[in-house]
Amino acid sequence: MIKLPRPLLPLALGALLTLALTSCSSLVQRLDVIGAGSAASFDAALRAAPENVAPDERHGGWSLSAPDGSARFIWSEDYSKSPLYDVMLEFDAAPFLDAGLDPDKLPAGVVYSDGKLITGTKLGDIEPRYQGEATPLSSYEQIVRLYGGAVGYHAALDHYGVSLGGGNLFEWAKDLSANDKDIVFALAPEPWIAAGVDPSAVAGWTLAQVTVHANGKPAEVDKLLKPFDLA
């Protein structure tokens, strides 16, 4: 039988305890600094432009609109019941059509509706439990709690963000007061290029190289961006 050296025993037990504790969901929530930070700054973003926040009955959730109304970030109130997606972007179709989009070759998962294009993802079908009335913030917090993997931090822009699948993102500044891009709608350009879009010609959108963190290393990727300053 292997005998543990005396000083090792408490350390080993401590380590195992720590690992066990980190598996505990409540503790995970407390240690989820990105989740907690993203919720706080999302709340700040919502408070910065309350007029742009509204319930979205069509999709069963809430929306945060760009100041010019050209795009919206929509998130569900009850992910078990979302008719289309749980989180999505809705934006004007015209600039993309003008830039060469073939309406018959829409990228996979993109829906055209009433002059708008919608792309997003289903996060899951767990029924969220709200303490009290559901609010835009509490619905977002359900994303953090139930589908934390969809939330992330973008170091290059000091943004939090929600992954919408396929490389599409909605991001907001960690600190609105220190950032001139308070919210950013981001699309992966490749599917659009495949659908005939000239990404450099999409009005209101900017094709840019963005540094993202992949596999522990920074990497440059192309994104179509639509940033806004809420302040």
Partner: protein, 768 residues
Amino acid sequence: MDNDTRENLTKIEPVPAAAGGGLTIPVGGMSCAACAQRVERAIRKLDGVASASVNYATEKATVIYDPSKVRAAAIKAAIEKAGYKALSNTGIGAADEDRARKQKEIRVMWTKFIISAVFSLPLLYIARAPMITFVRLPFPALLDPMRYPLIYGLAELALVLPVIGVGYKFYTVGFTALWRRAPNMDSLIAIGTTSAVVYSVYNIFQIATGGFMAVDFLYFETAGVIITLILLGKSLEAVSKGRTNEAIKKLMGLAPKTATIIVDGEEKEIPIDDVEIGDIVAVRPGGKIPVDGVVLAGHTAIDESMLTGESMPVDKTEGSKVYAATINTTGAVRFKAEKIGADTALARIIQLVEDAQGSKAPIAALADKVSGVFVPIVCAIAAAAGIAWFIGTRDLSFALTIFISVLVIACPCALGLATPTAIMVGTGKGAENGILIKGGEALETAHKVNIIVFDKTGTITEGKPSVTDVLPAAAMPADSLLRLTASAENASEHPLGQAIVLGARAKGLELLPATDFVSITGRGIEARIDGRGVLAGNRQLMDERGISLGSLAADSDRLSGEGKTPMYVAVDGALAGIVAVADVMKPSSRAAIESLHKMGVEVAMITGDNQKTADWVARQVGIDRVLAEVLPGDKSSEVRKLQAEGNKVAMVGDGINDAPALAQADIGVAIGSGTDVAMESADIVLMRSDLMDVPTALQLSKRTIRNIKQNLFWAFGYNTIGIPLAAGVLYLLGGPLLNPIFAAAAMSLSSVSVLTNALRLKRFKPSR
């Protein structure tokens, strides 16, 4: 085994650890050659200590001191004060304890390594798997560093803590040494890994307070893997060190644990330690002889190969000496215990080999000097490189990587192991072959020898007269002449007479009864056999009796010219023939000298014989240079003359008159038939009388020194290449940067490779 070799077993004396007071103390807690240097310095500081030598490989301090000025307890206290453990050591029992302690150390080391690896492998996986792009490795989402950086960091911390716990000694020893301003290898590891851990903990705080990207600057896995790899290296090192000392272990394992003594006519089994001098010991066939003694009753053959290398069992009868650890093969014997405990031949051989293994070769001096100053210099280089890179890049993380890499790669343990391990294996291998090399210095000097001077009598020759020629004068058959002469000489005590008797017996000739035996001093003998008067003696005796040599006169002159002694035999007043007696060559002499020639060694012979006789002997065996007519007292001056010609001289001899020459020579080799004085004067003791062991000793020396040079080359080369590489010199020039983990692996492998190279010596086989 011949009688001379058996005699030799009683004459092996341990190399005294000191002229005044000598002490060998096992030292615990040394982690590198720098530690050995520190212990040496601590002991040498004591008033009354003449010298101190600490061998990192054997983990023993050999101290020569004046007991009137300093006590052993004070020496041990000095070792303890320096931060190490002075362990107990007395005799073979302590050697067993030492072995048990080392076995335990190996077990603990492996346990630590296994525990460390159990935590380090997942730590390494967590740290590195997200970076692997060519294959998607399974990874828990909860530990995604980009999503849950704090959990990720804390998980790494949780995994590294047990590893640090396992390696706590690196910190206690390393920081203590640093505090005493005498940093060692543990200090390098402690500083390096602590820097990594502290910086990583700081970054966890950064993550917790919103600086999420600090997750890219966690170095817990660096610390964990470094400790694990070094524990692996230490474990392998401990195992290898144990293997280098197998020769001693084998010898110690030979000693039986119990003895059967006769008490009031009854056999009683008692522990070996309870046997006292004078006890009557009984040994049955198949049993081991427990202590040295003299046979009182019984007849048997004893296998003494474990002590002498001779494979043939040796007949033992009443009065024969028997030796501890040898095996009784055929008959039951009872013997009186004469030497017990540390005085037995086995204990003395063990002591001699242990002393040799604990000694240092001059070639080790350079390694010792470098090791002593190496660690502080490395600390300085690491700090300078780290600061320079920080100034150049403003990247603290990068600078820290450089700092840690330099500290970790520069451990000088390979340097400290290079020489002693090879000496341990070399001297151990010598002992296995019946060649006792008394120290590292002898081993080193032996490979430089370019001329070997052999004493003639007893070295090149058997040292005992024997019948060489039987020349009948008339029609008498040679065997009849020999039988008649031997029958007449049977009552003689003269060595030449005894040689003739032995010669006849060796031919199976039955001796005839002799009457009226008369010994004529200085001339010969006279006796009557079968009614005939037999006269045997020198020429003077024949002349005095008026007996003509006739046609044998010419043969007589020829025999004298060949260094032989003609014994004239007359029967009833007429010459019957000549029986010549001479000291014959050893069977191995010619082959040994040929072997030395092949090695490019000049061979000389030194003798008191006249030039003509000496030249004849030299021609028989192929000697290059003859130093004849040398008086016993002048042998050492002849050796000195050869040294003055710029030669490295080895002297091979056995007699008491060889002792000054053995001492004068650069290497004194005492062969098996030697005396106590010759043994003590010699640097190398050959247990057997086989001269082939002389070239074997030189071959072993050359192989060992070559091995040491290889080890030193790799150890020095490794650090010479490793430090600039770790300091980022190649990176500066557009090349790769050494990761601290690879630095730790390389450092551990360097020690293991040096040990493995030393262990190659175990494959040494004498070329005969």
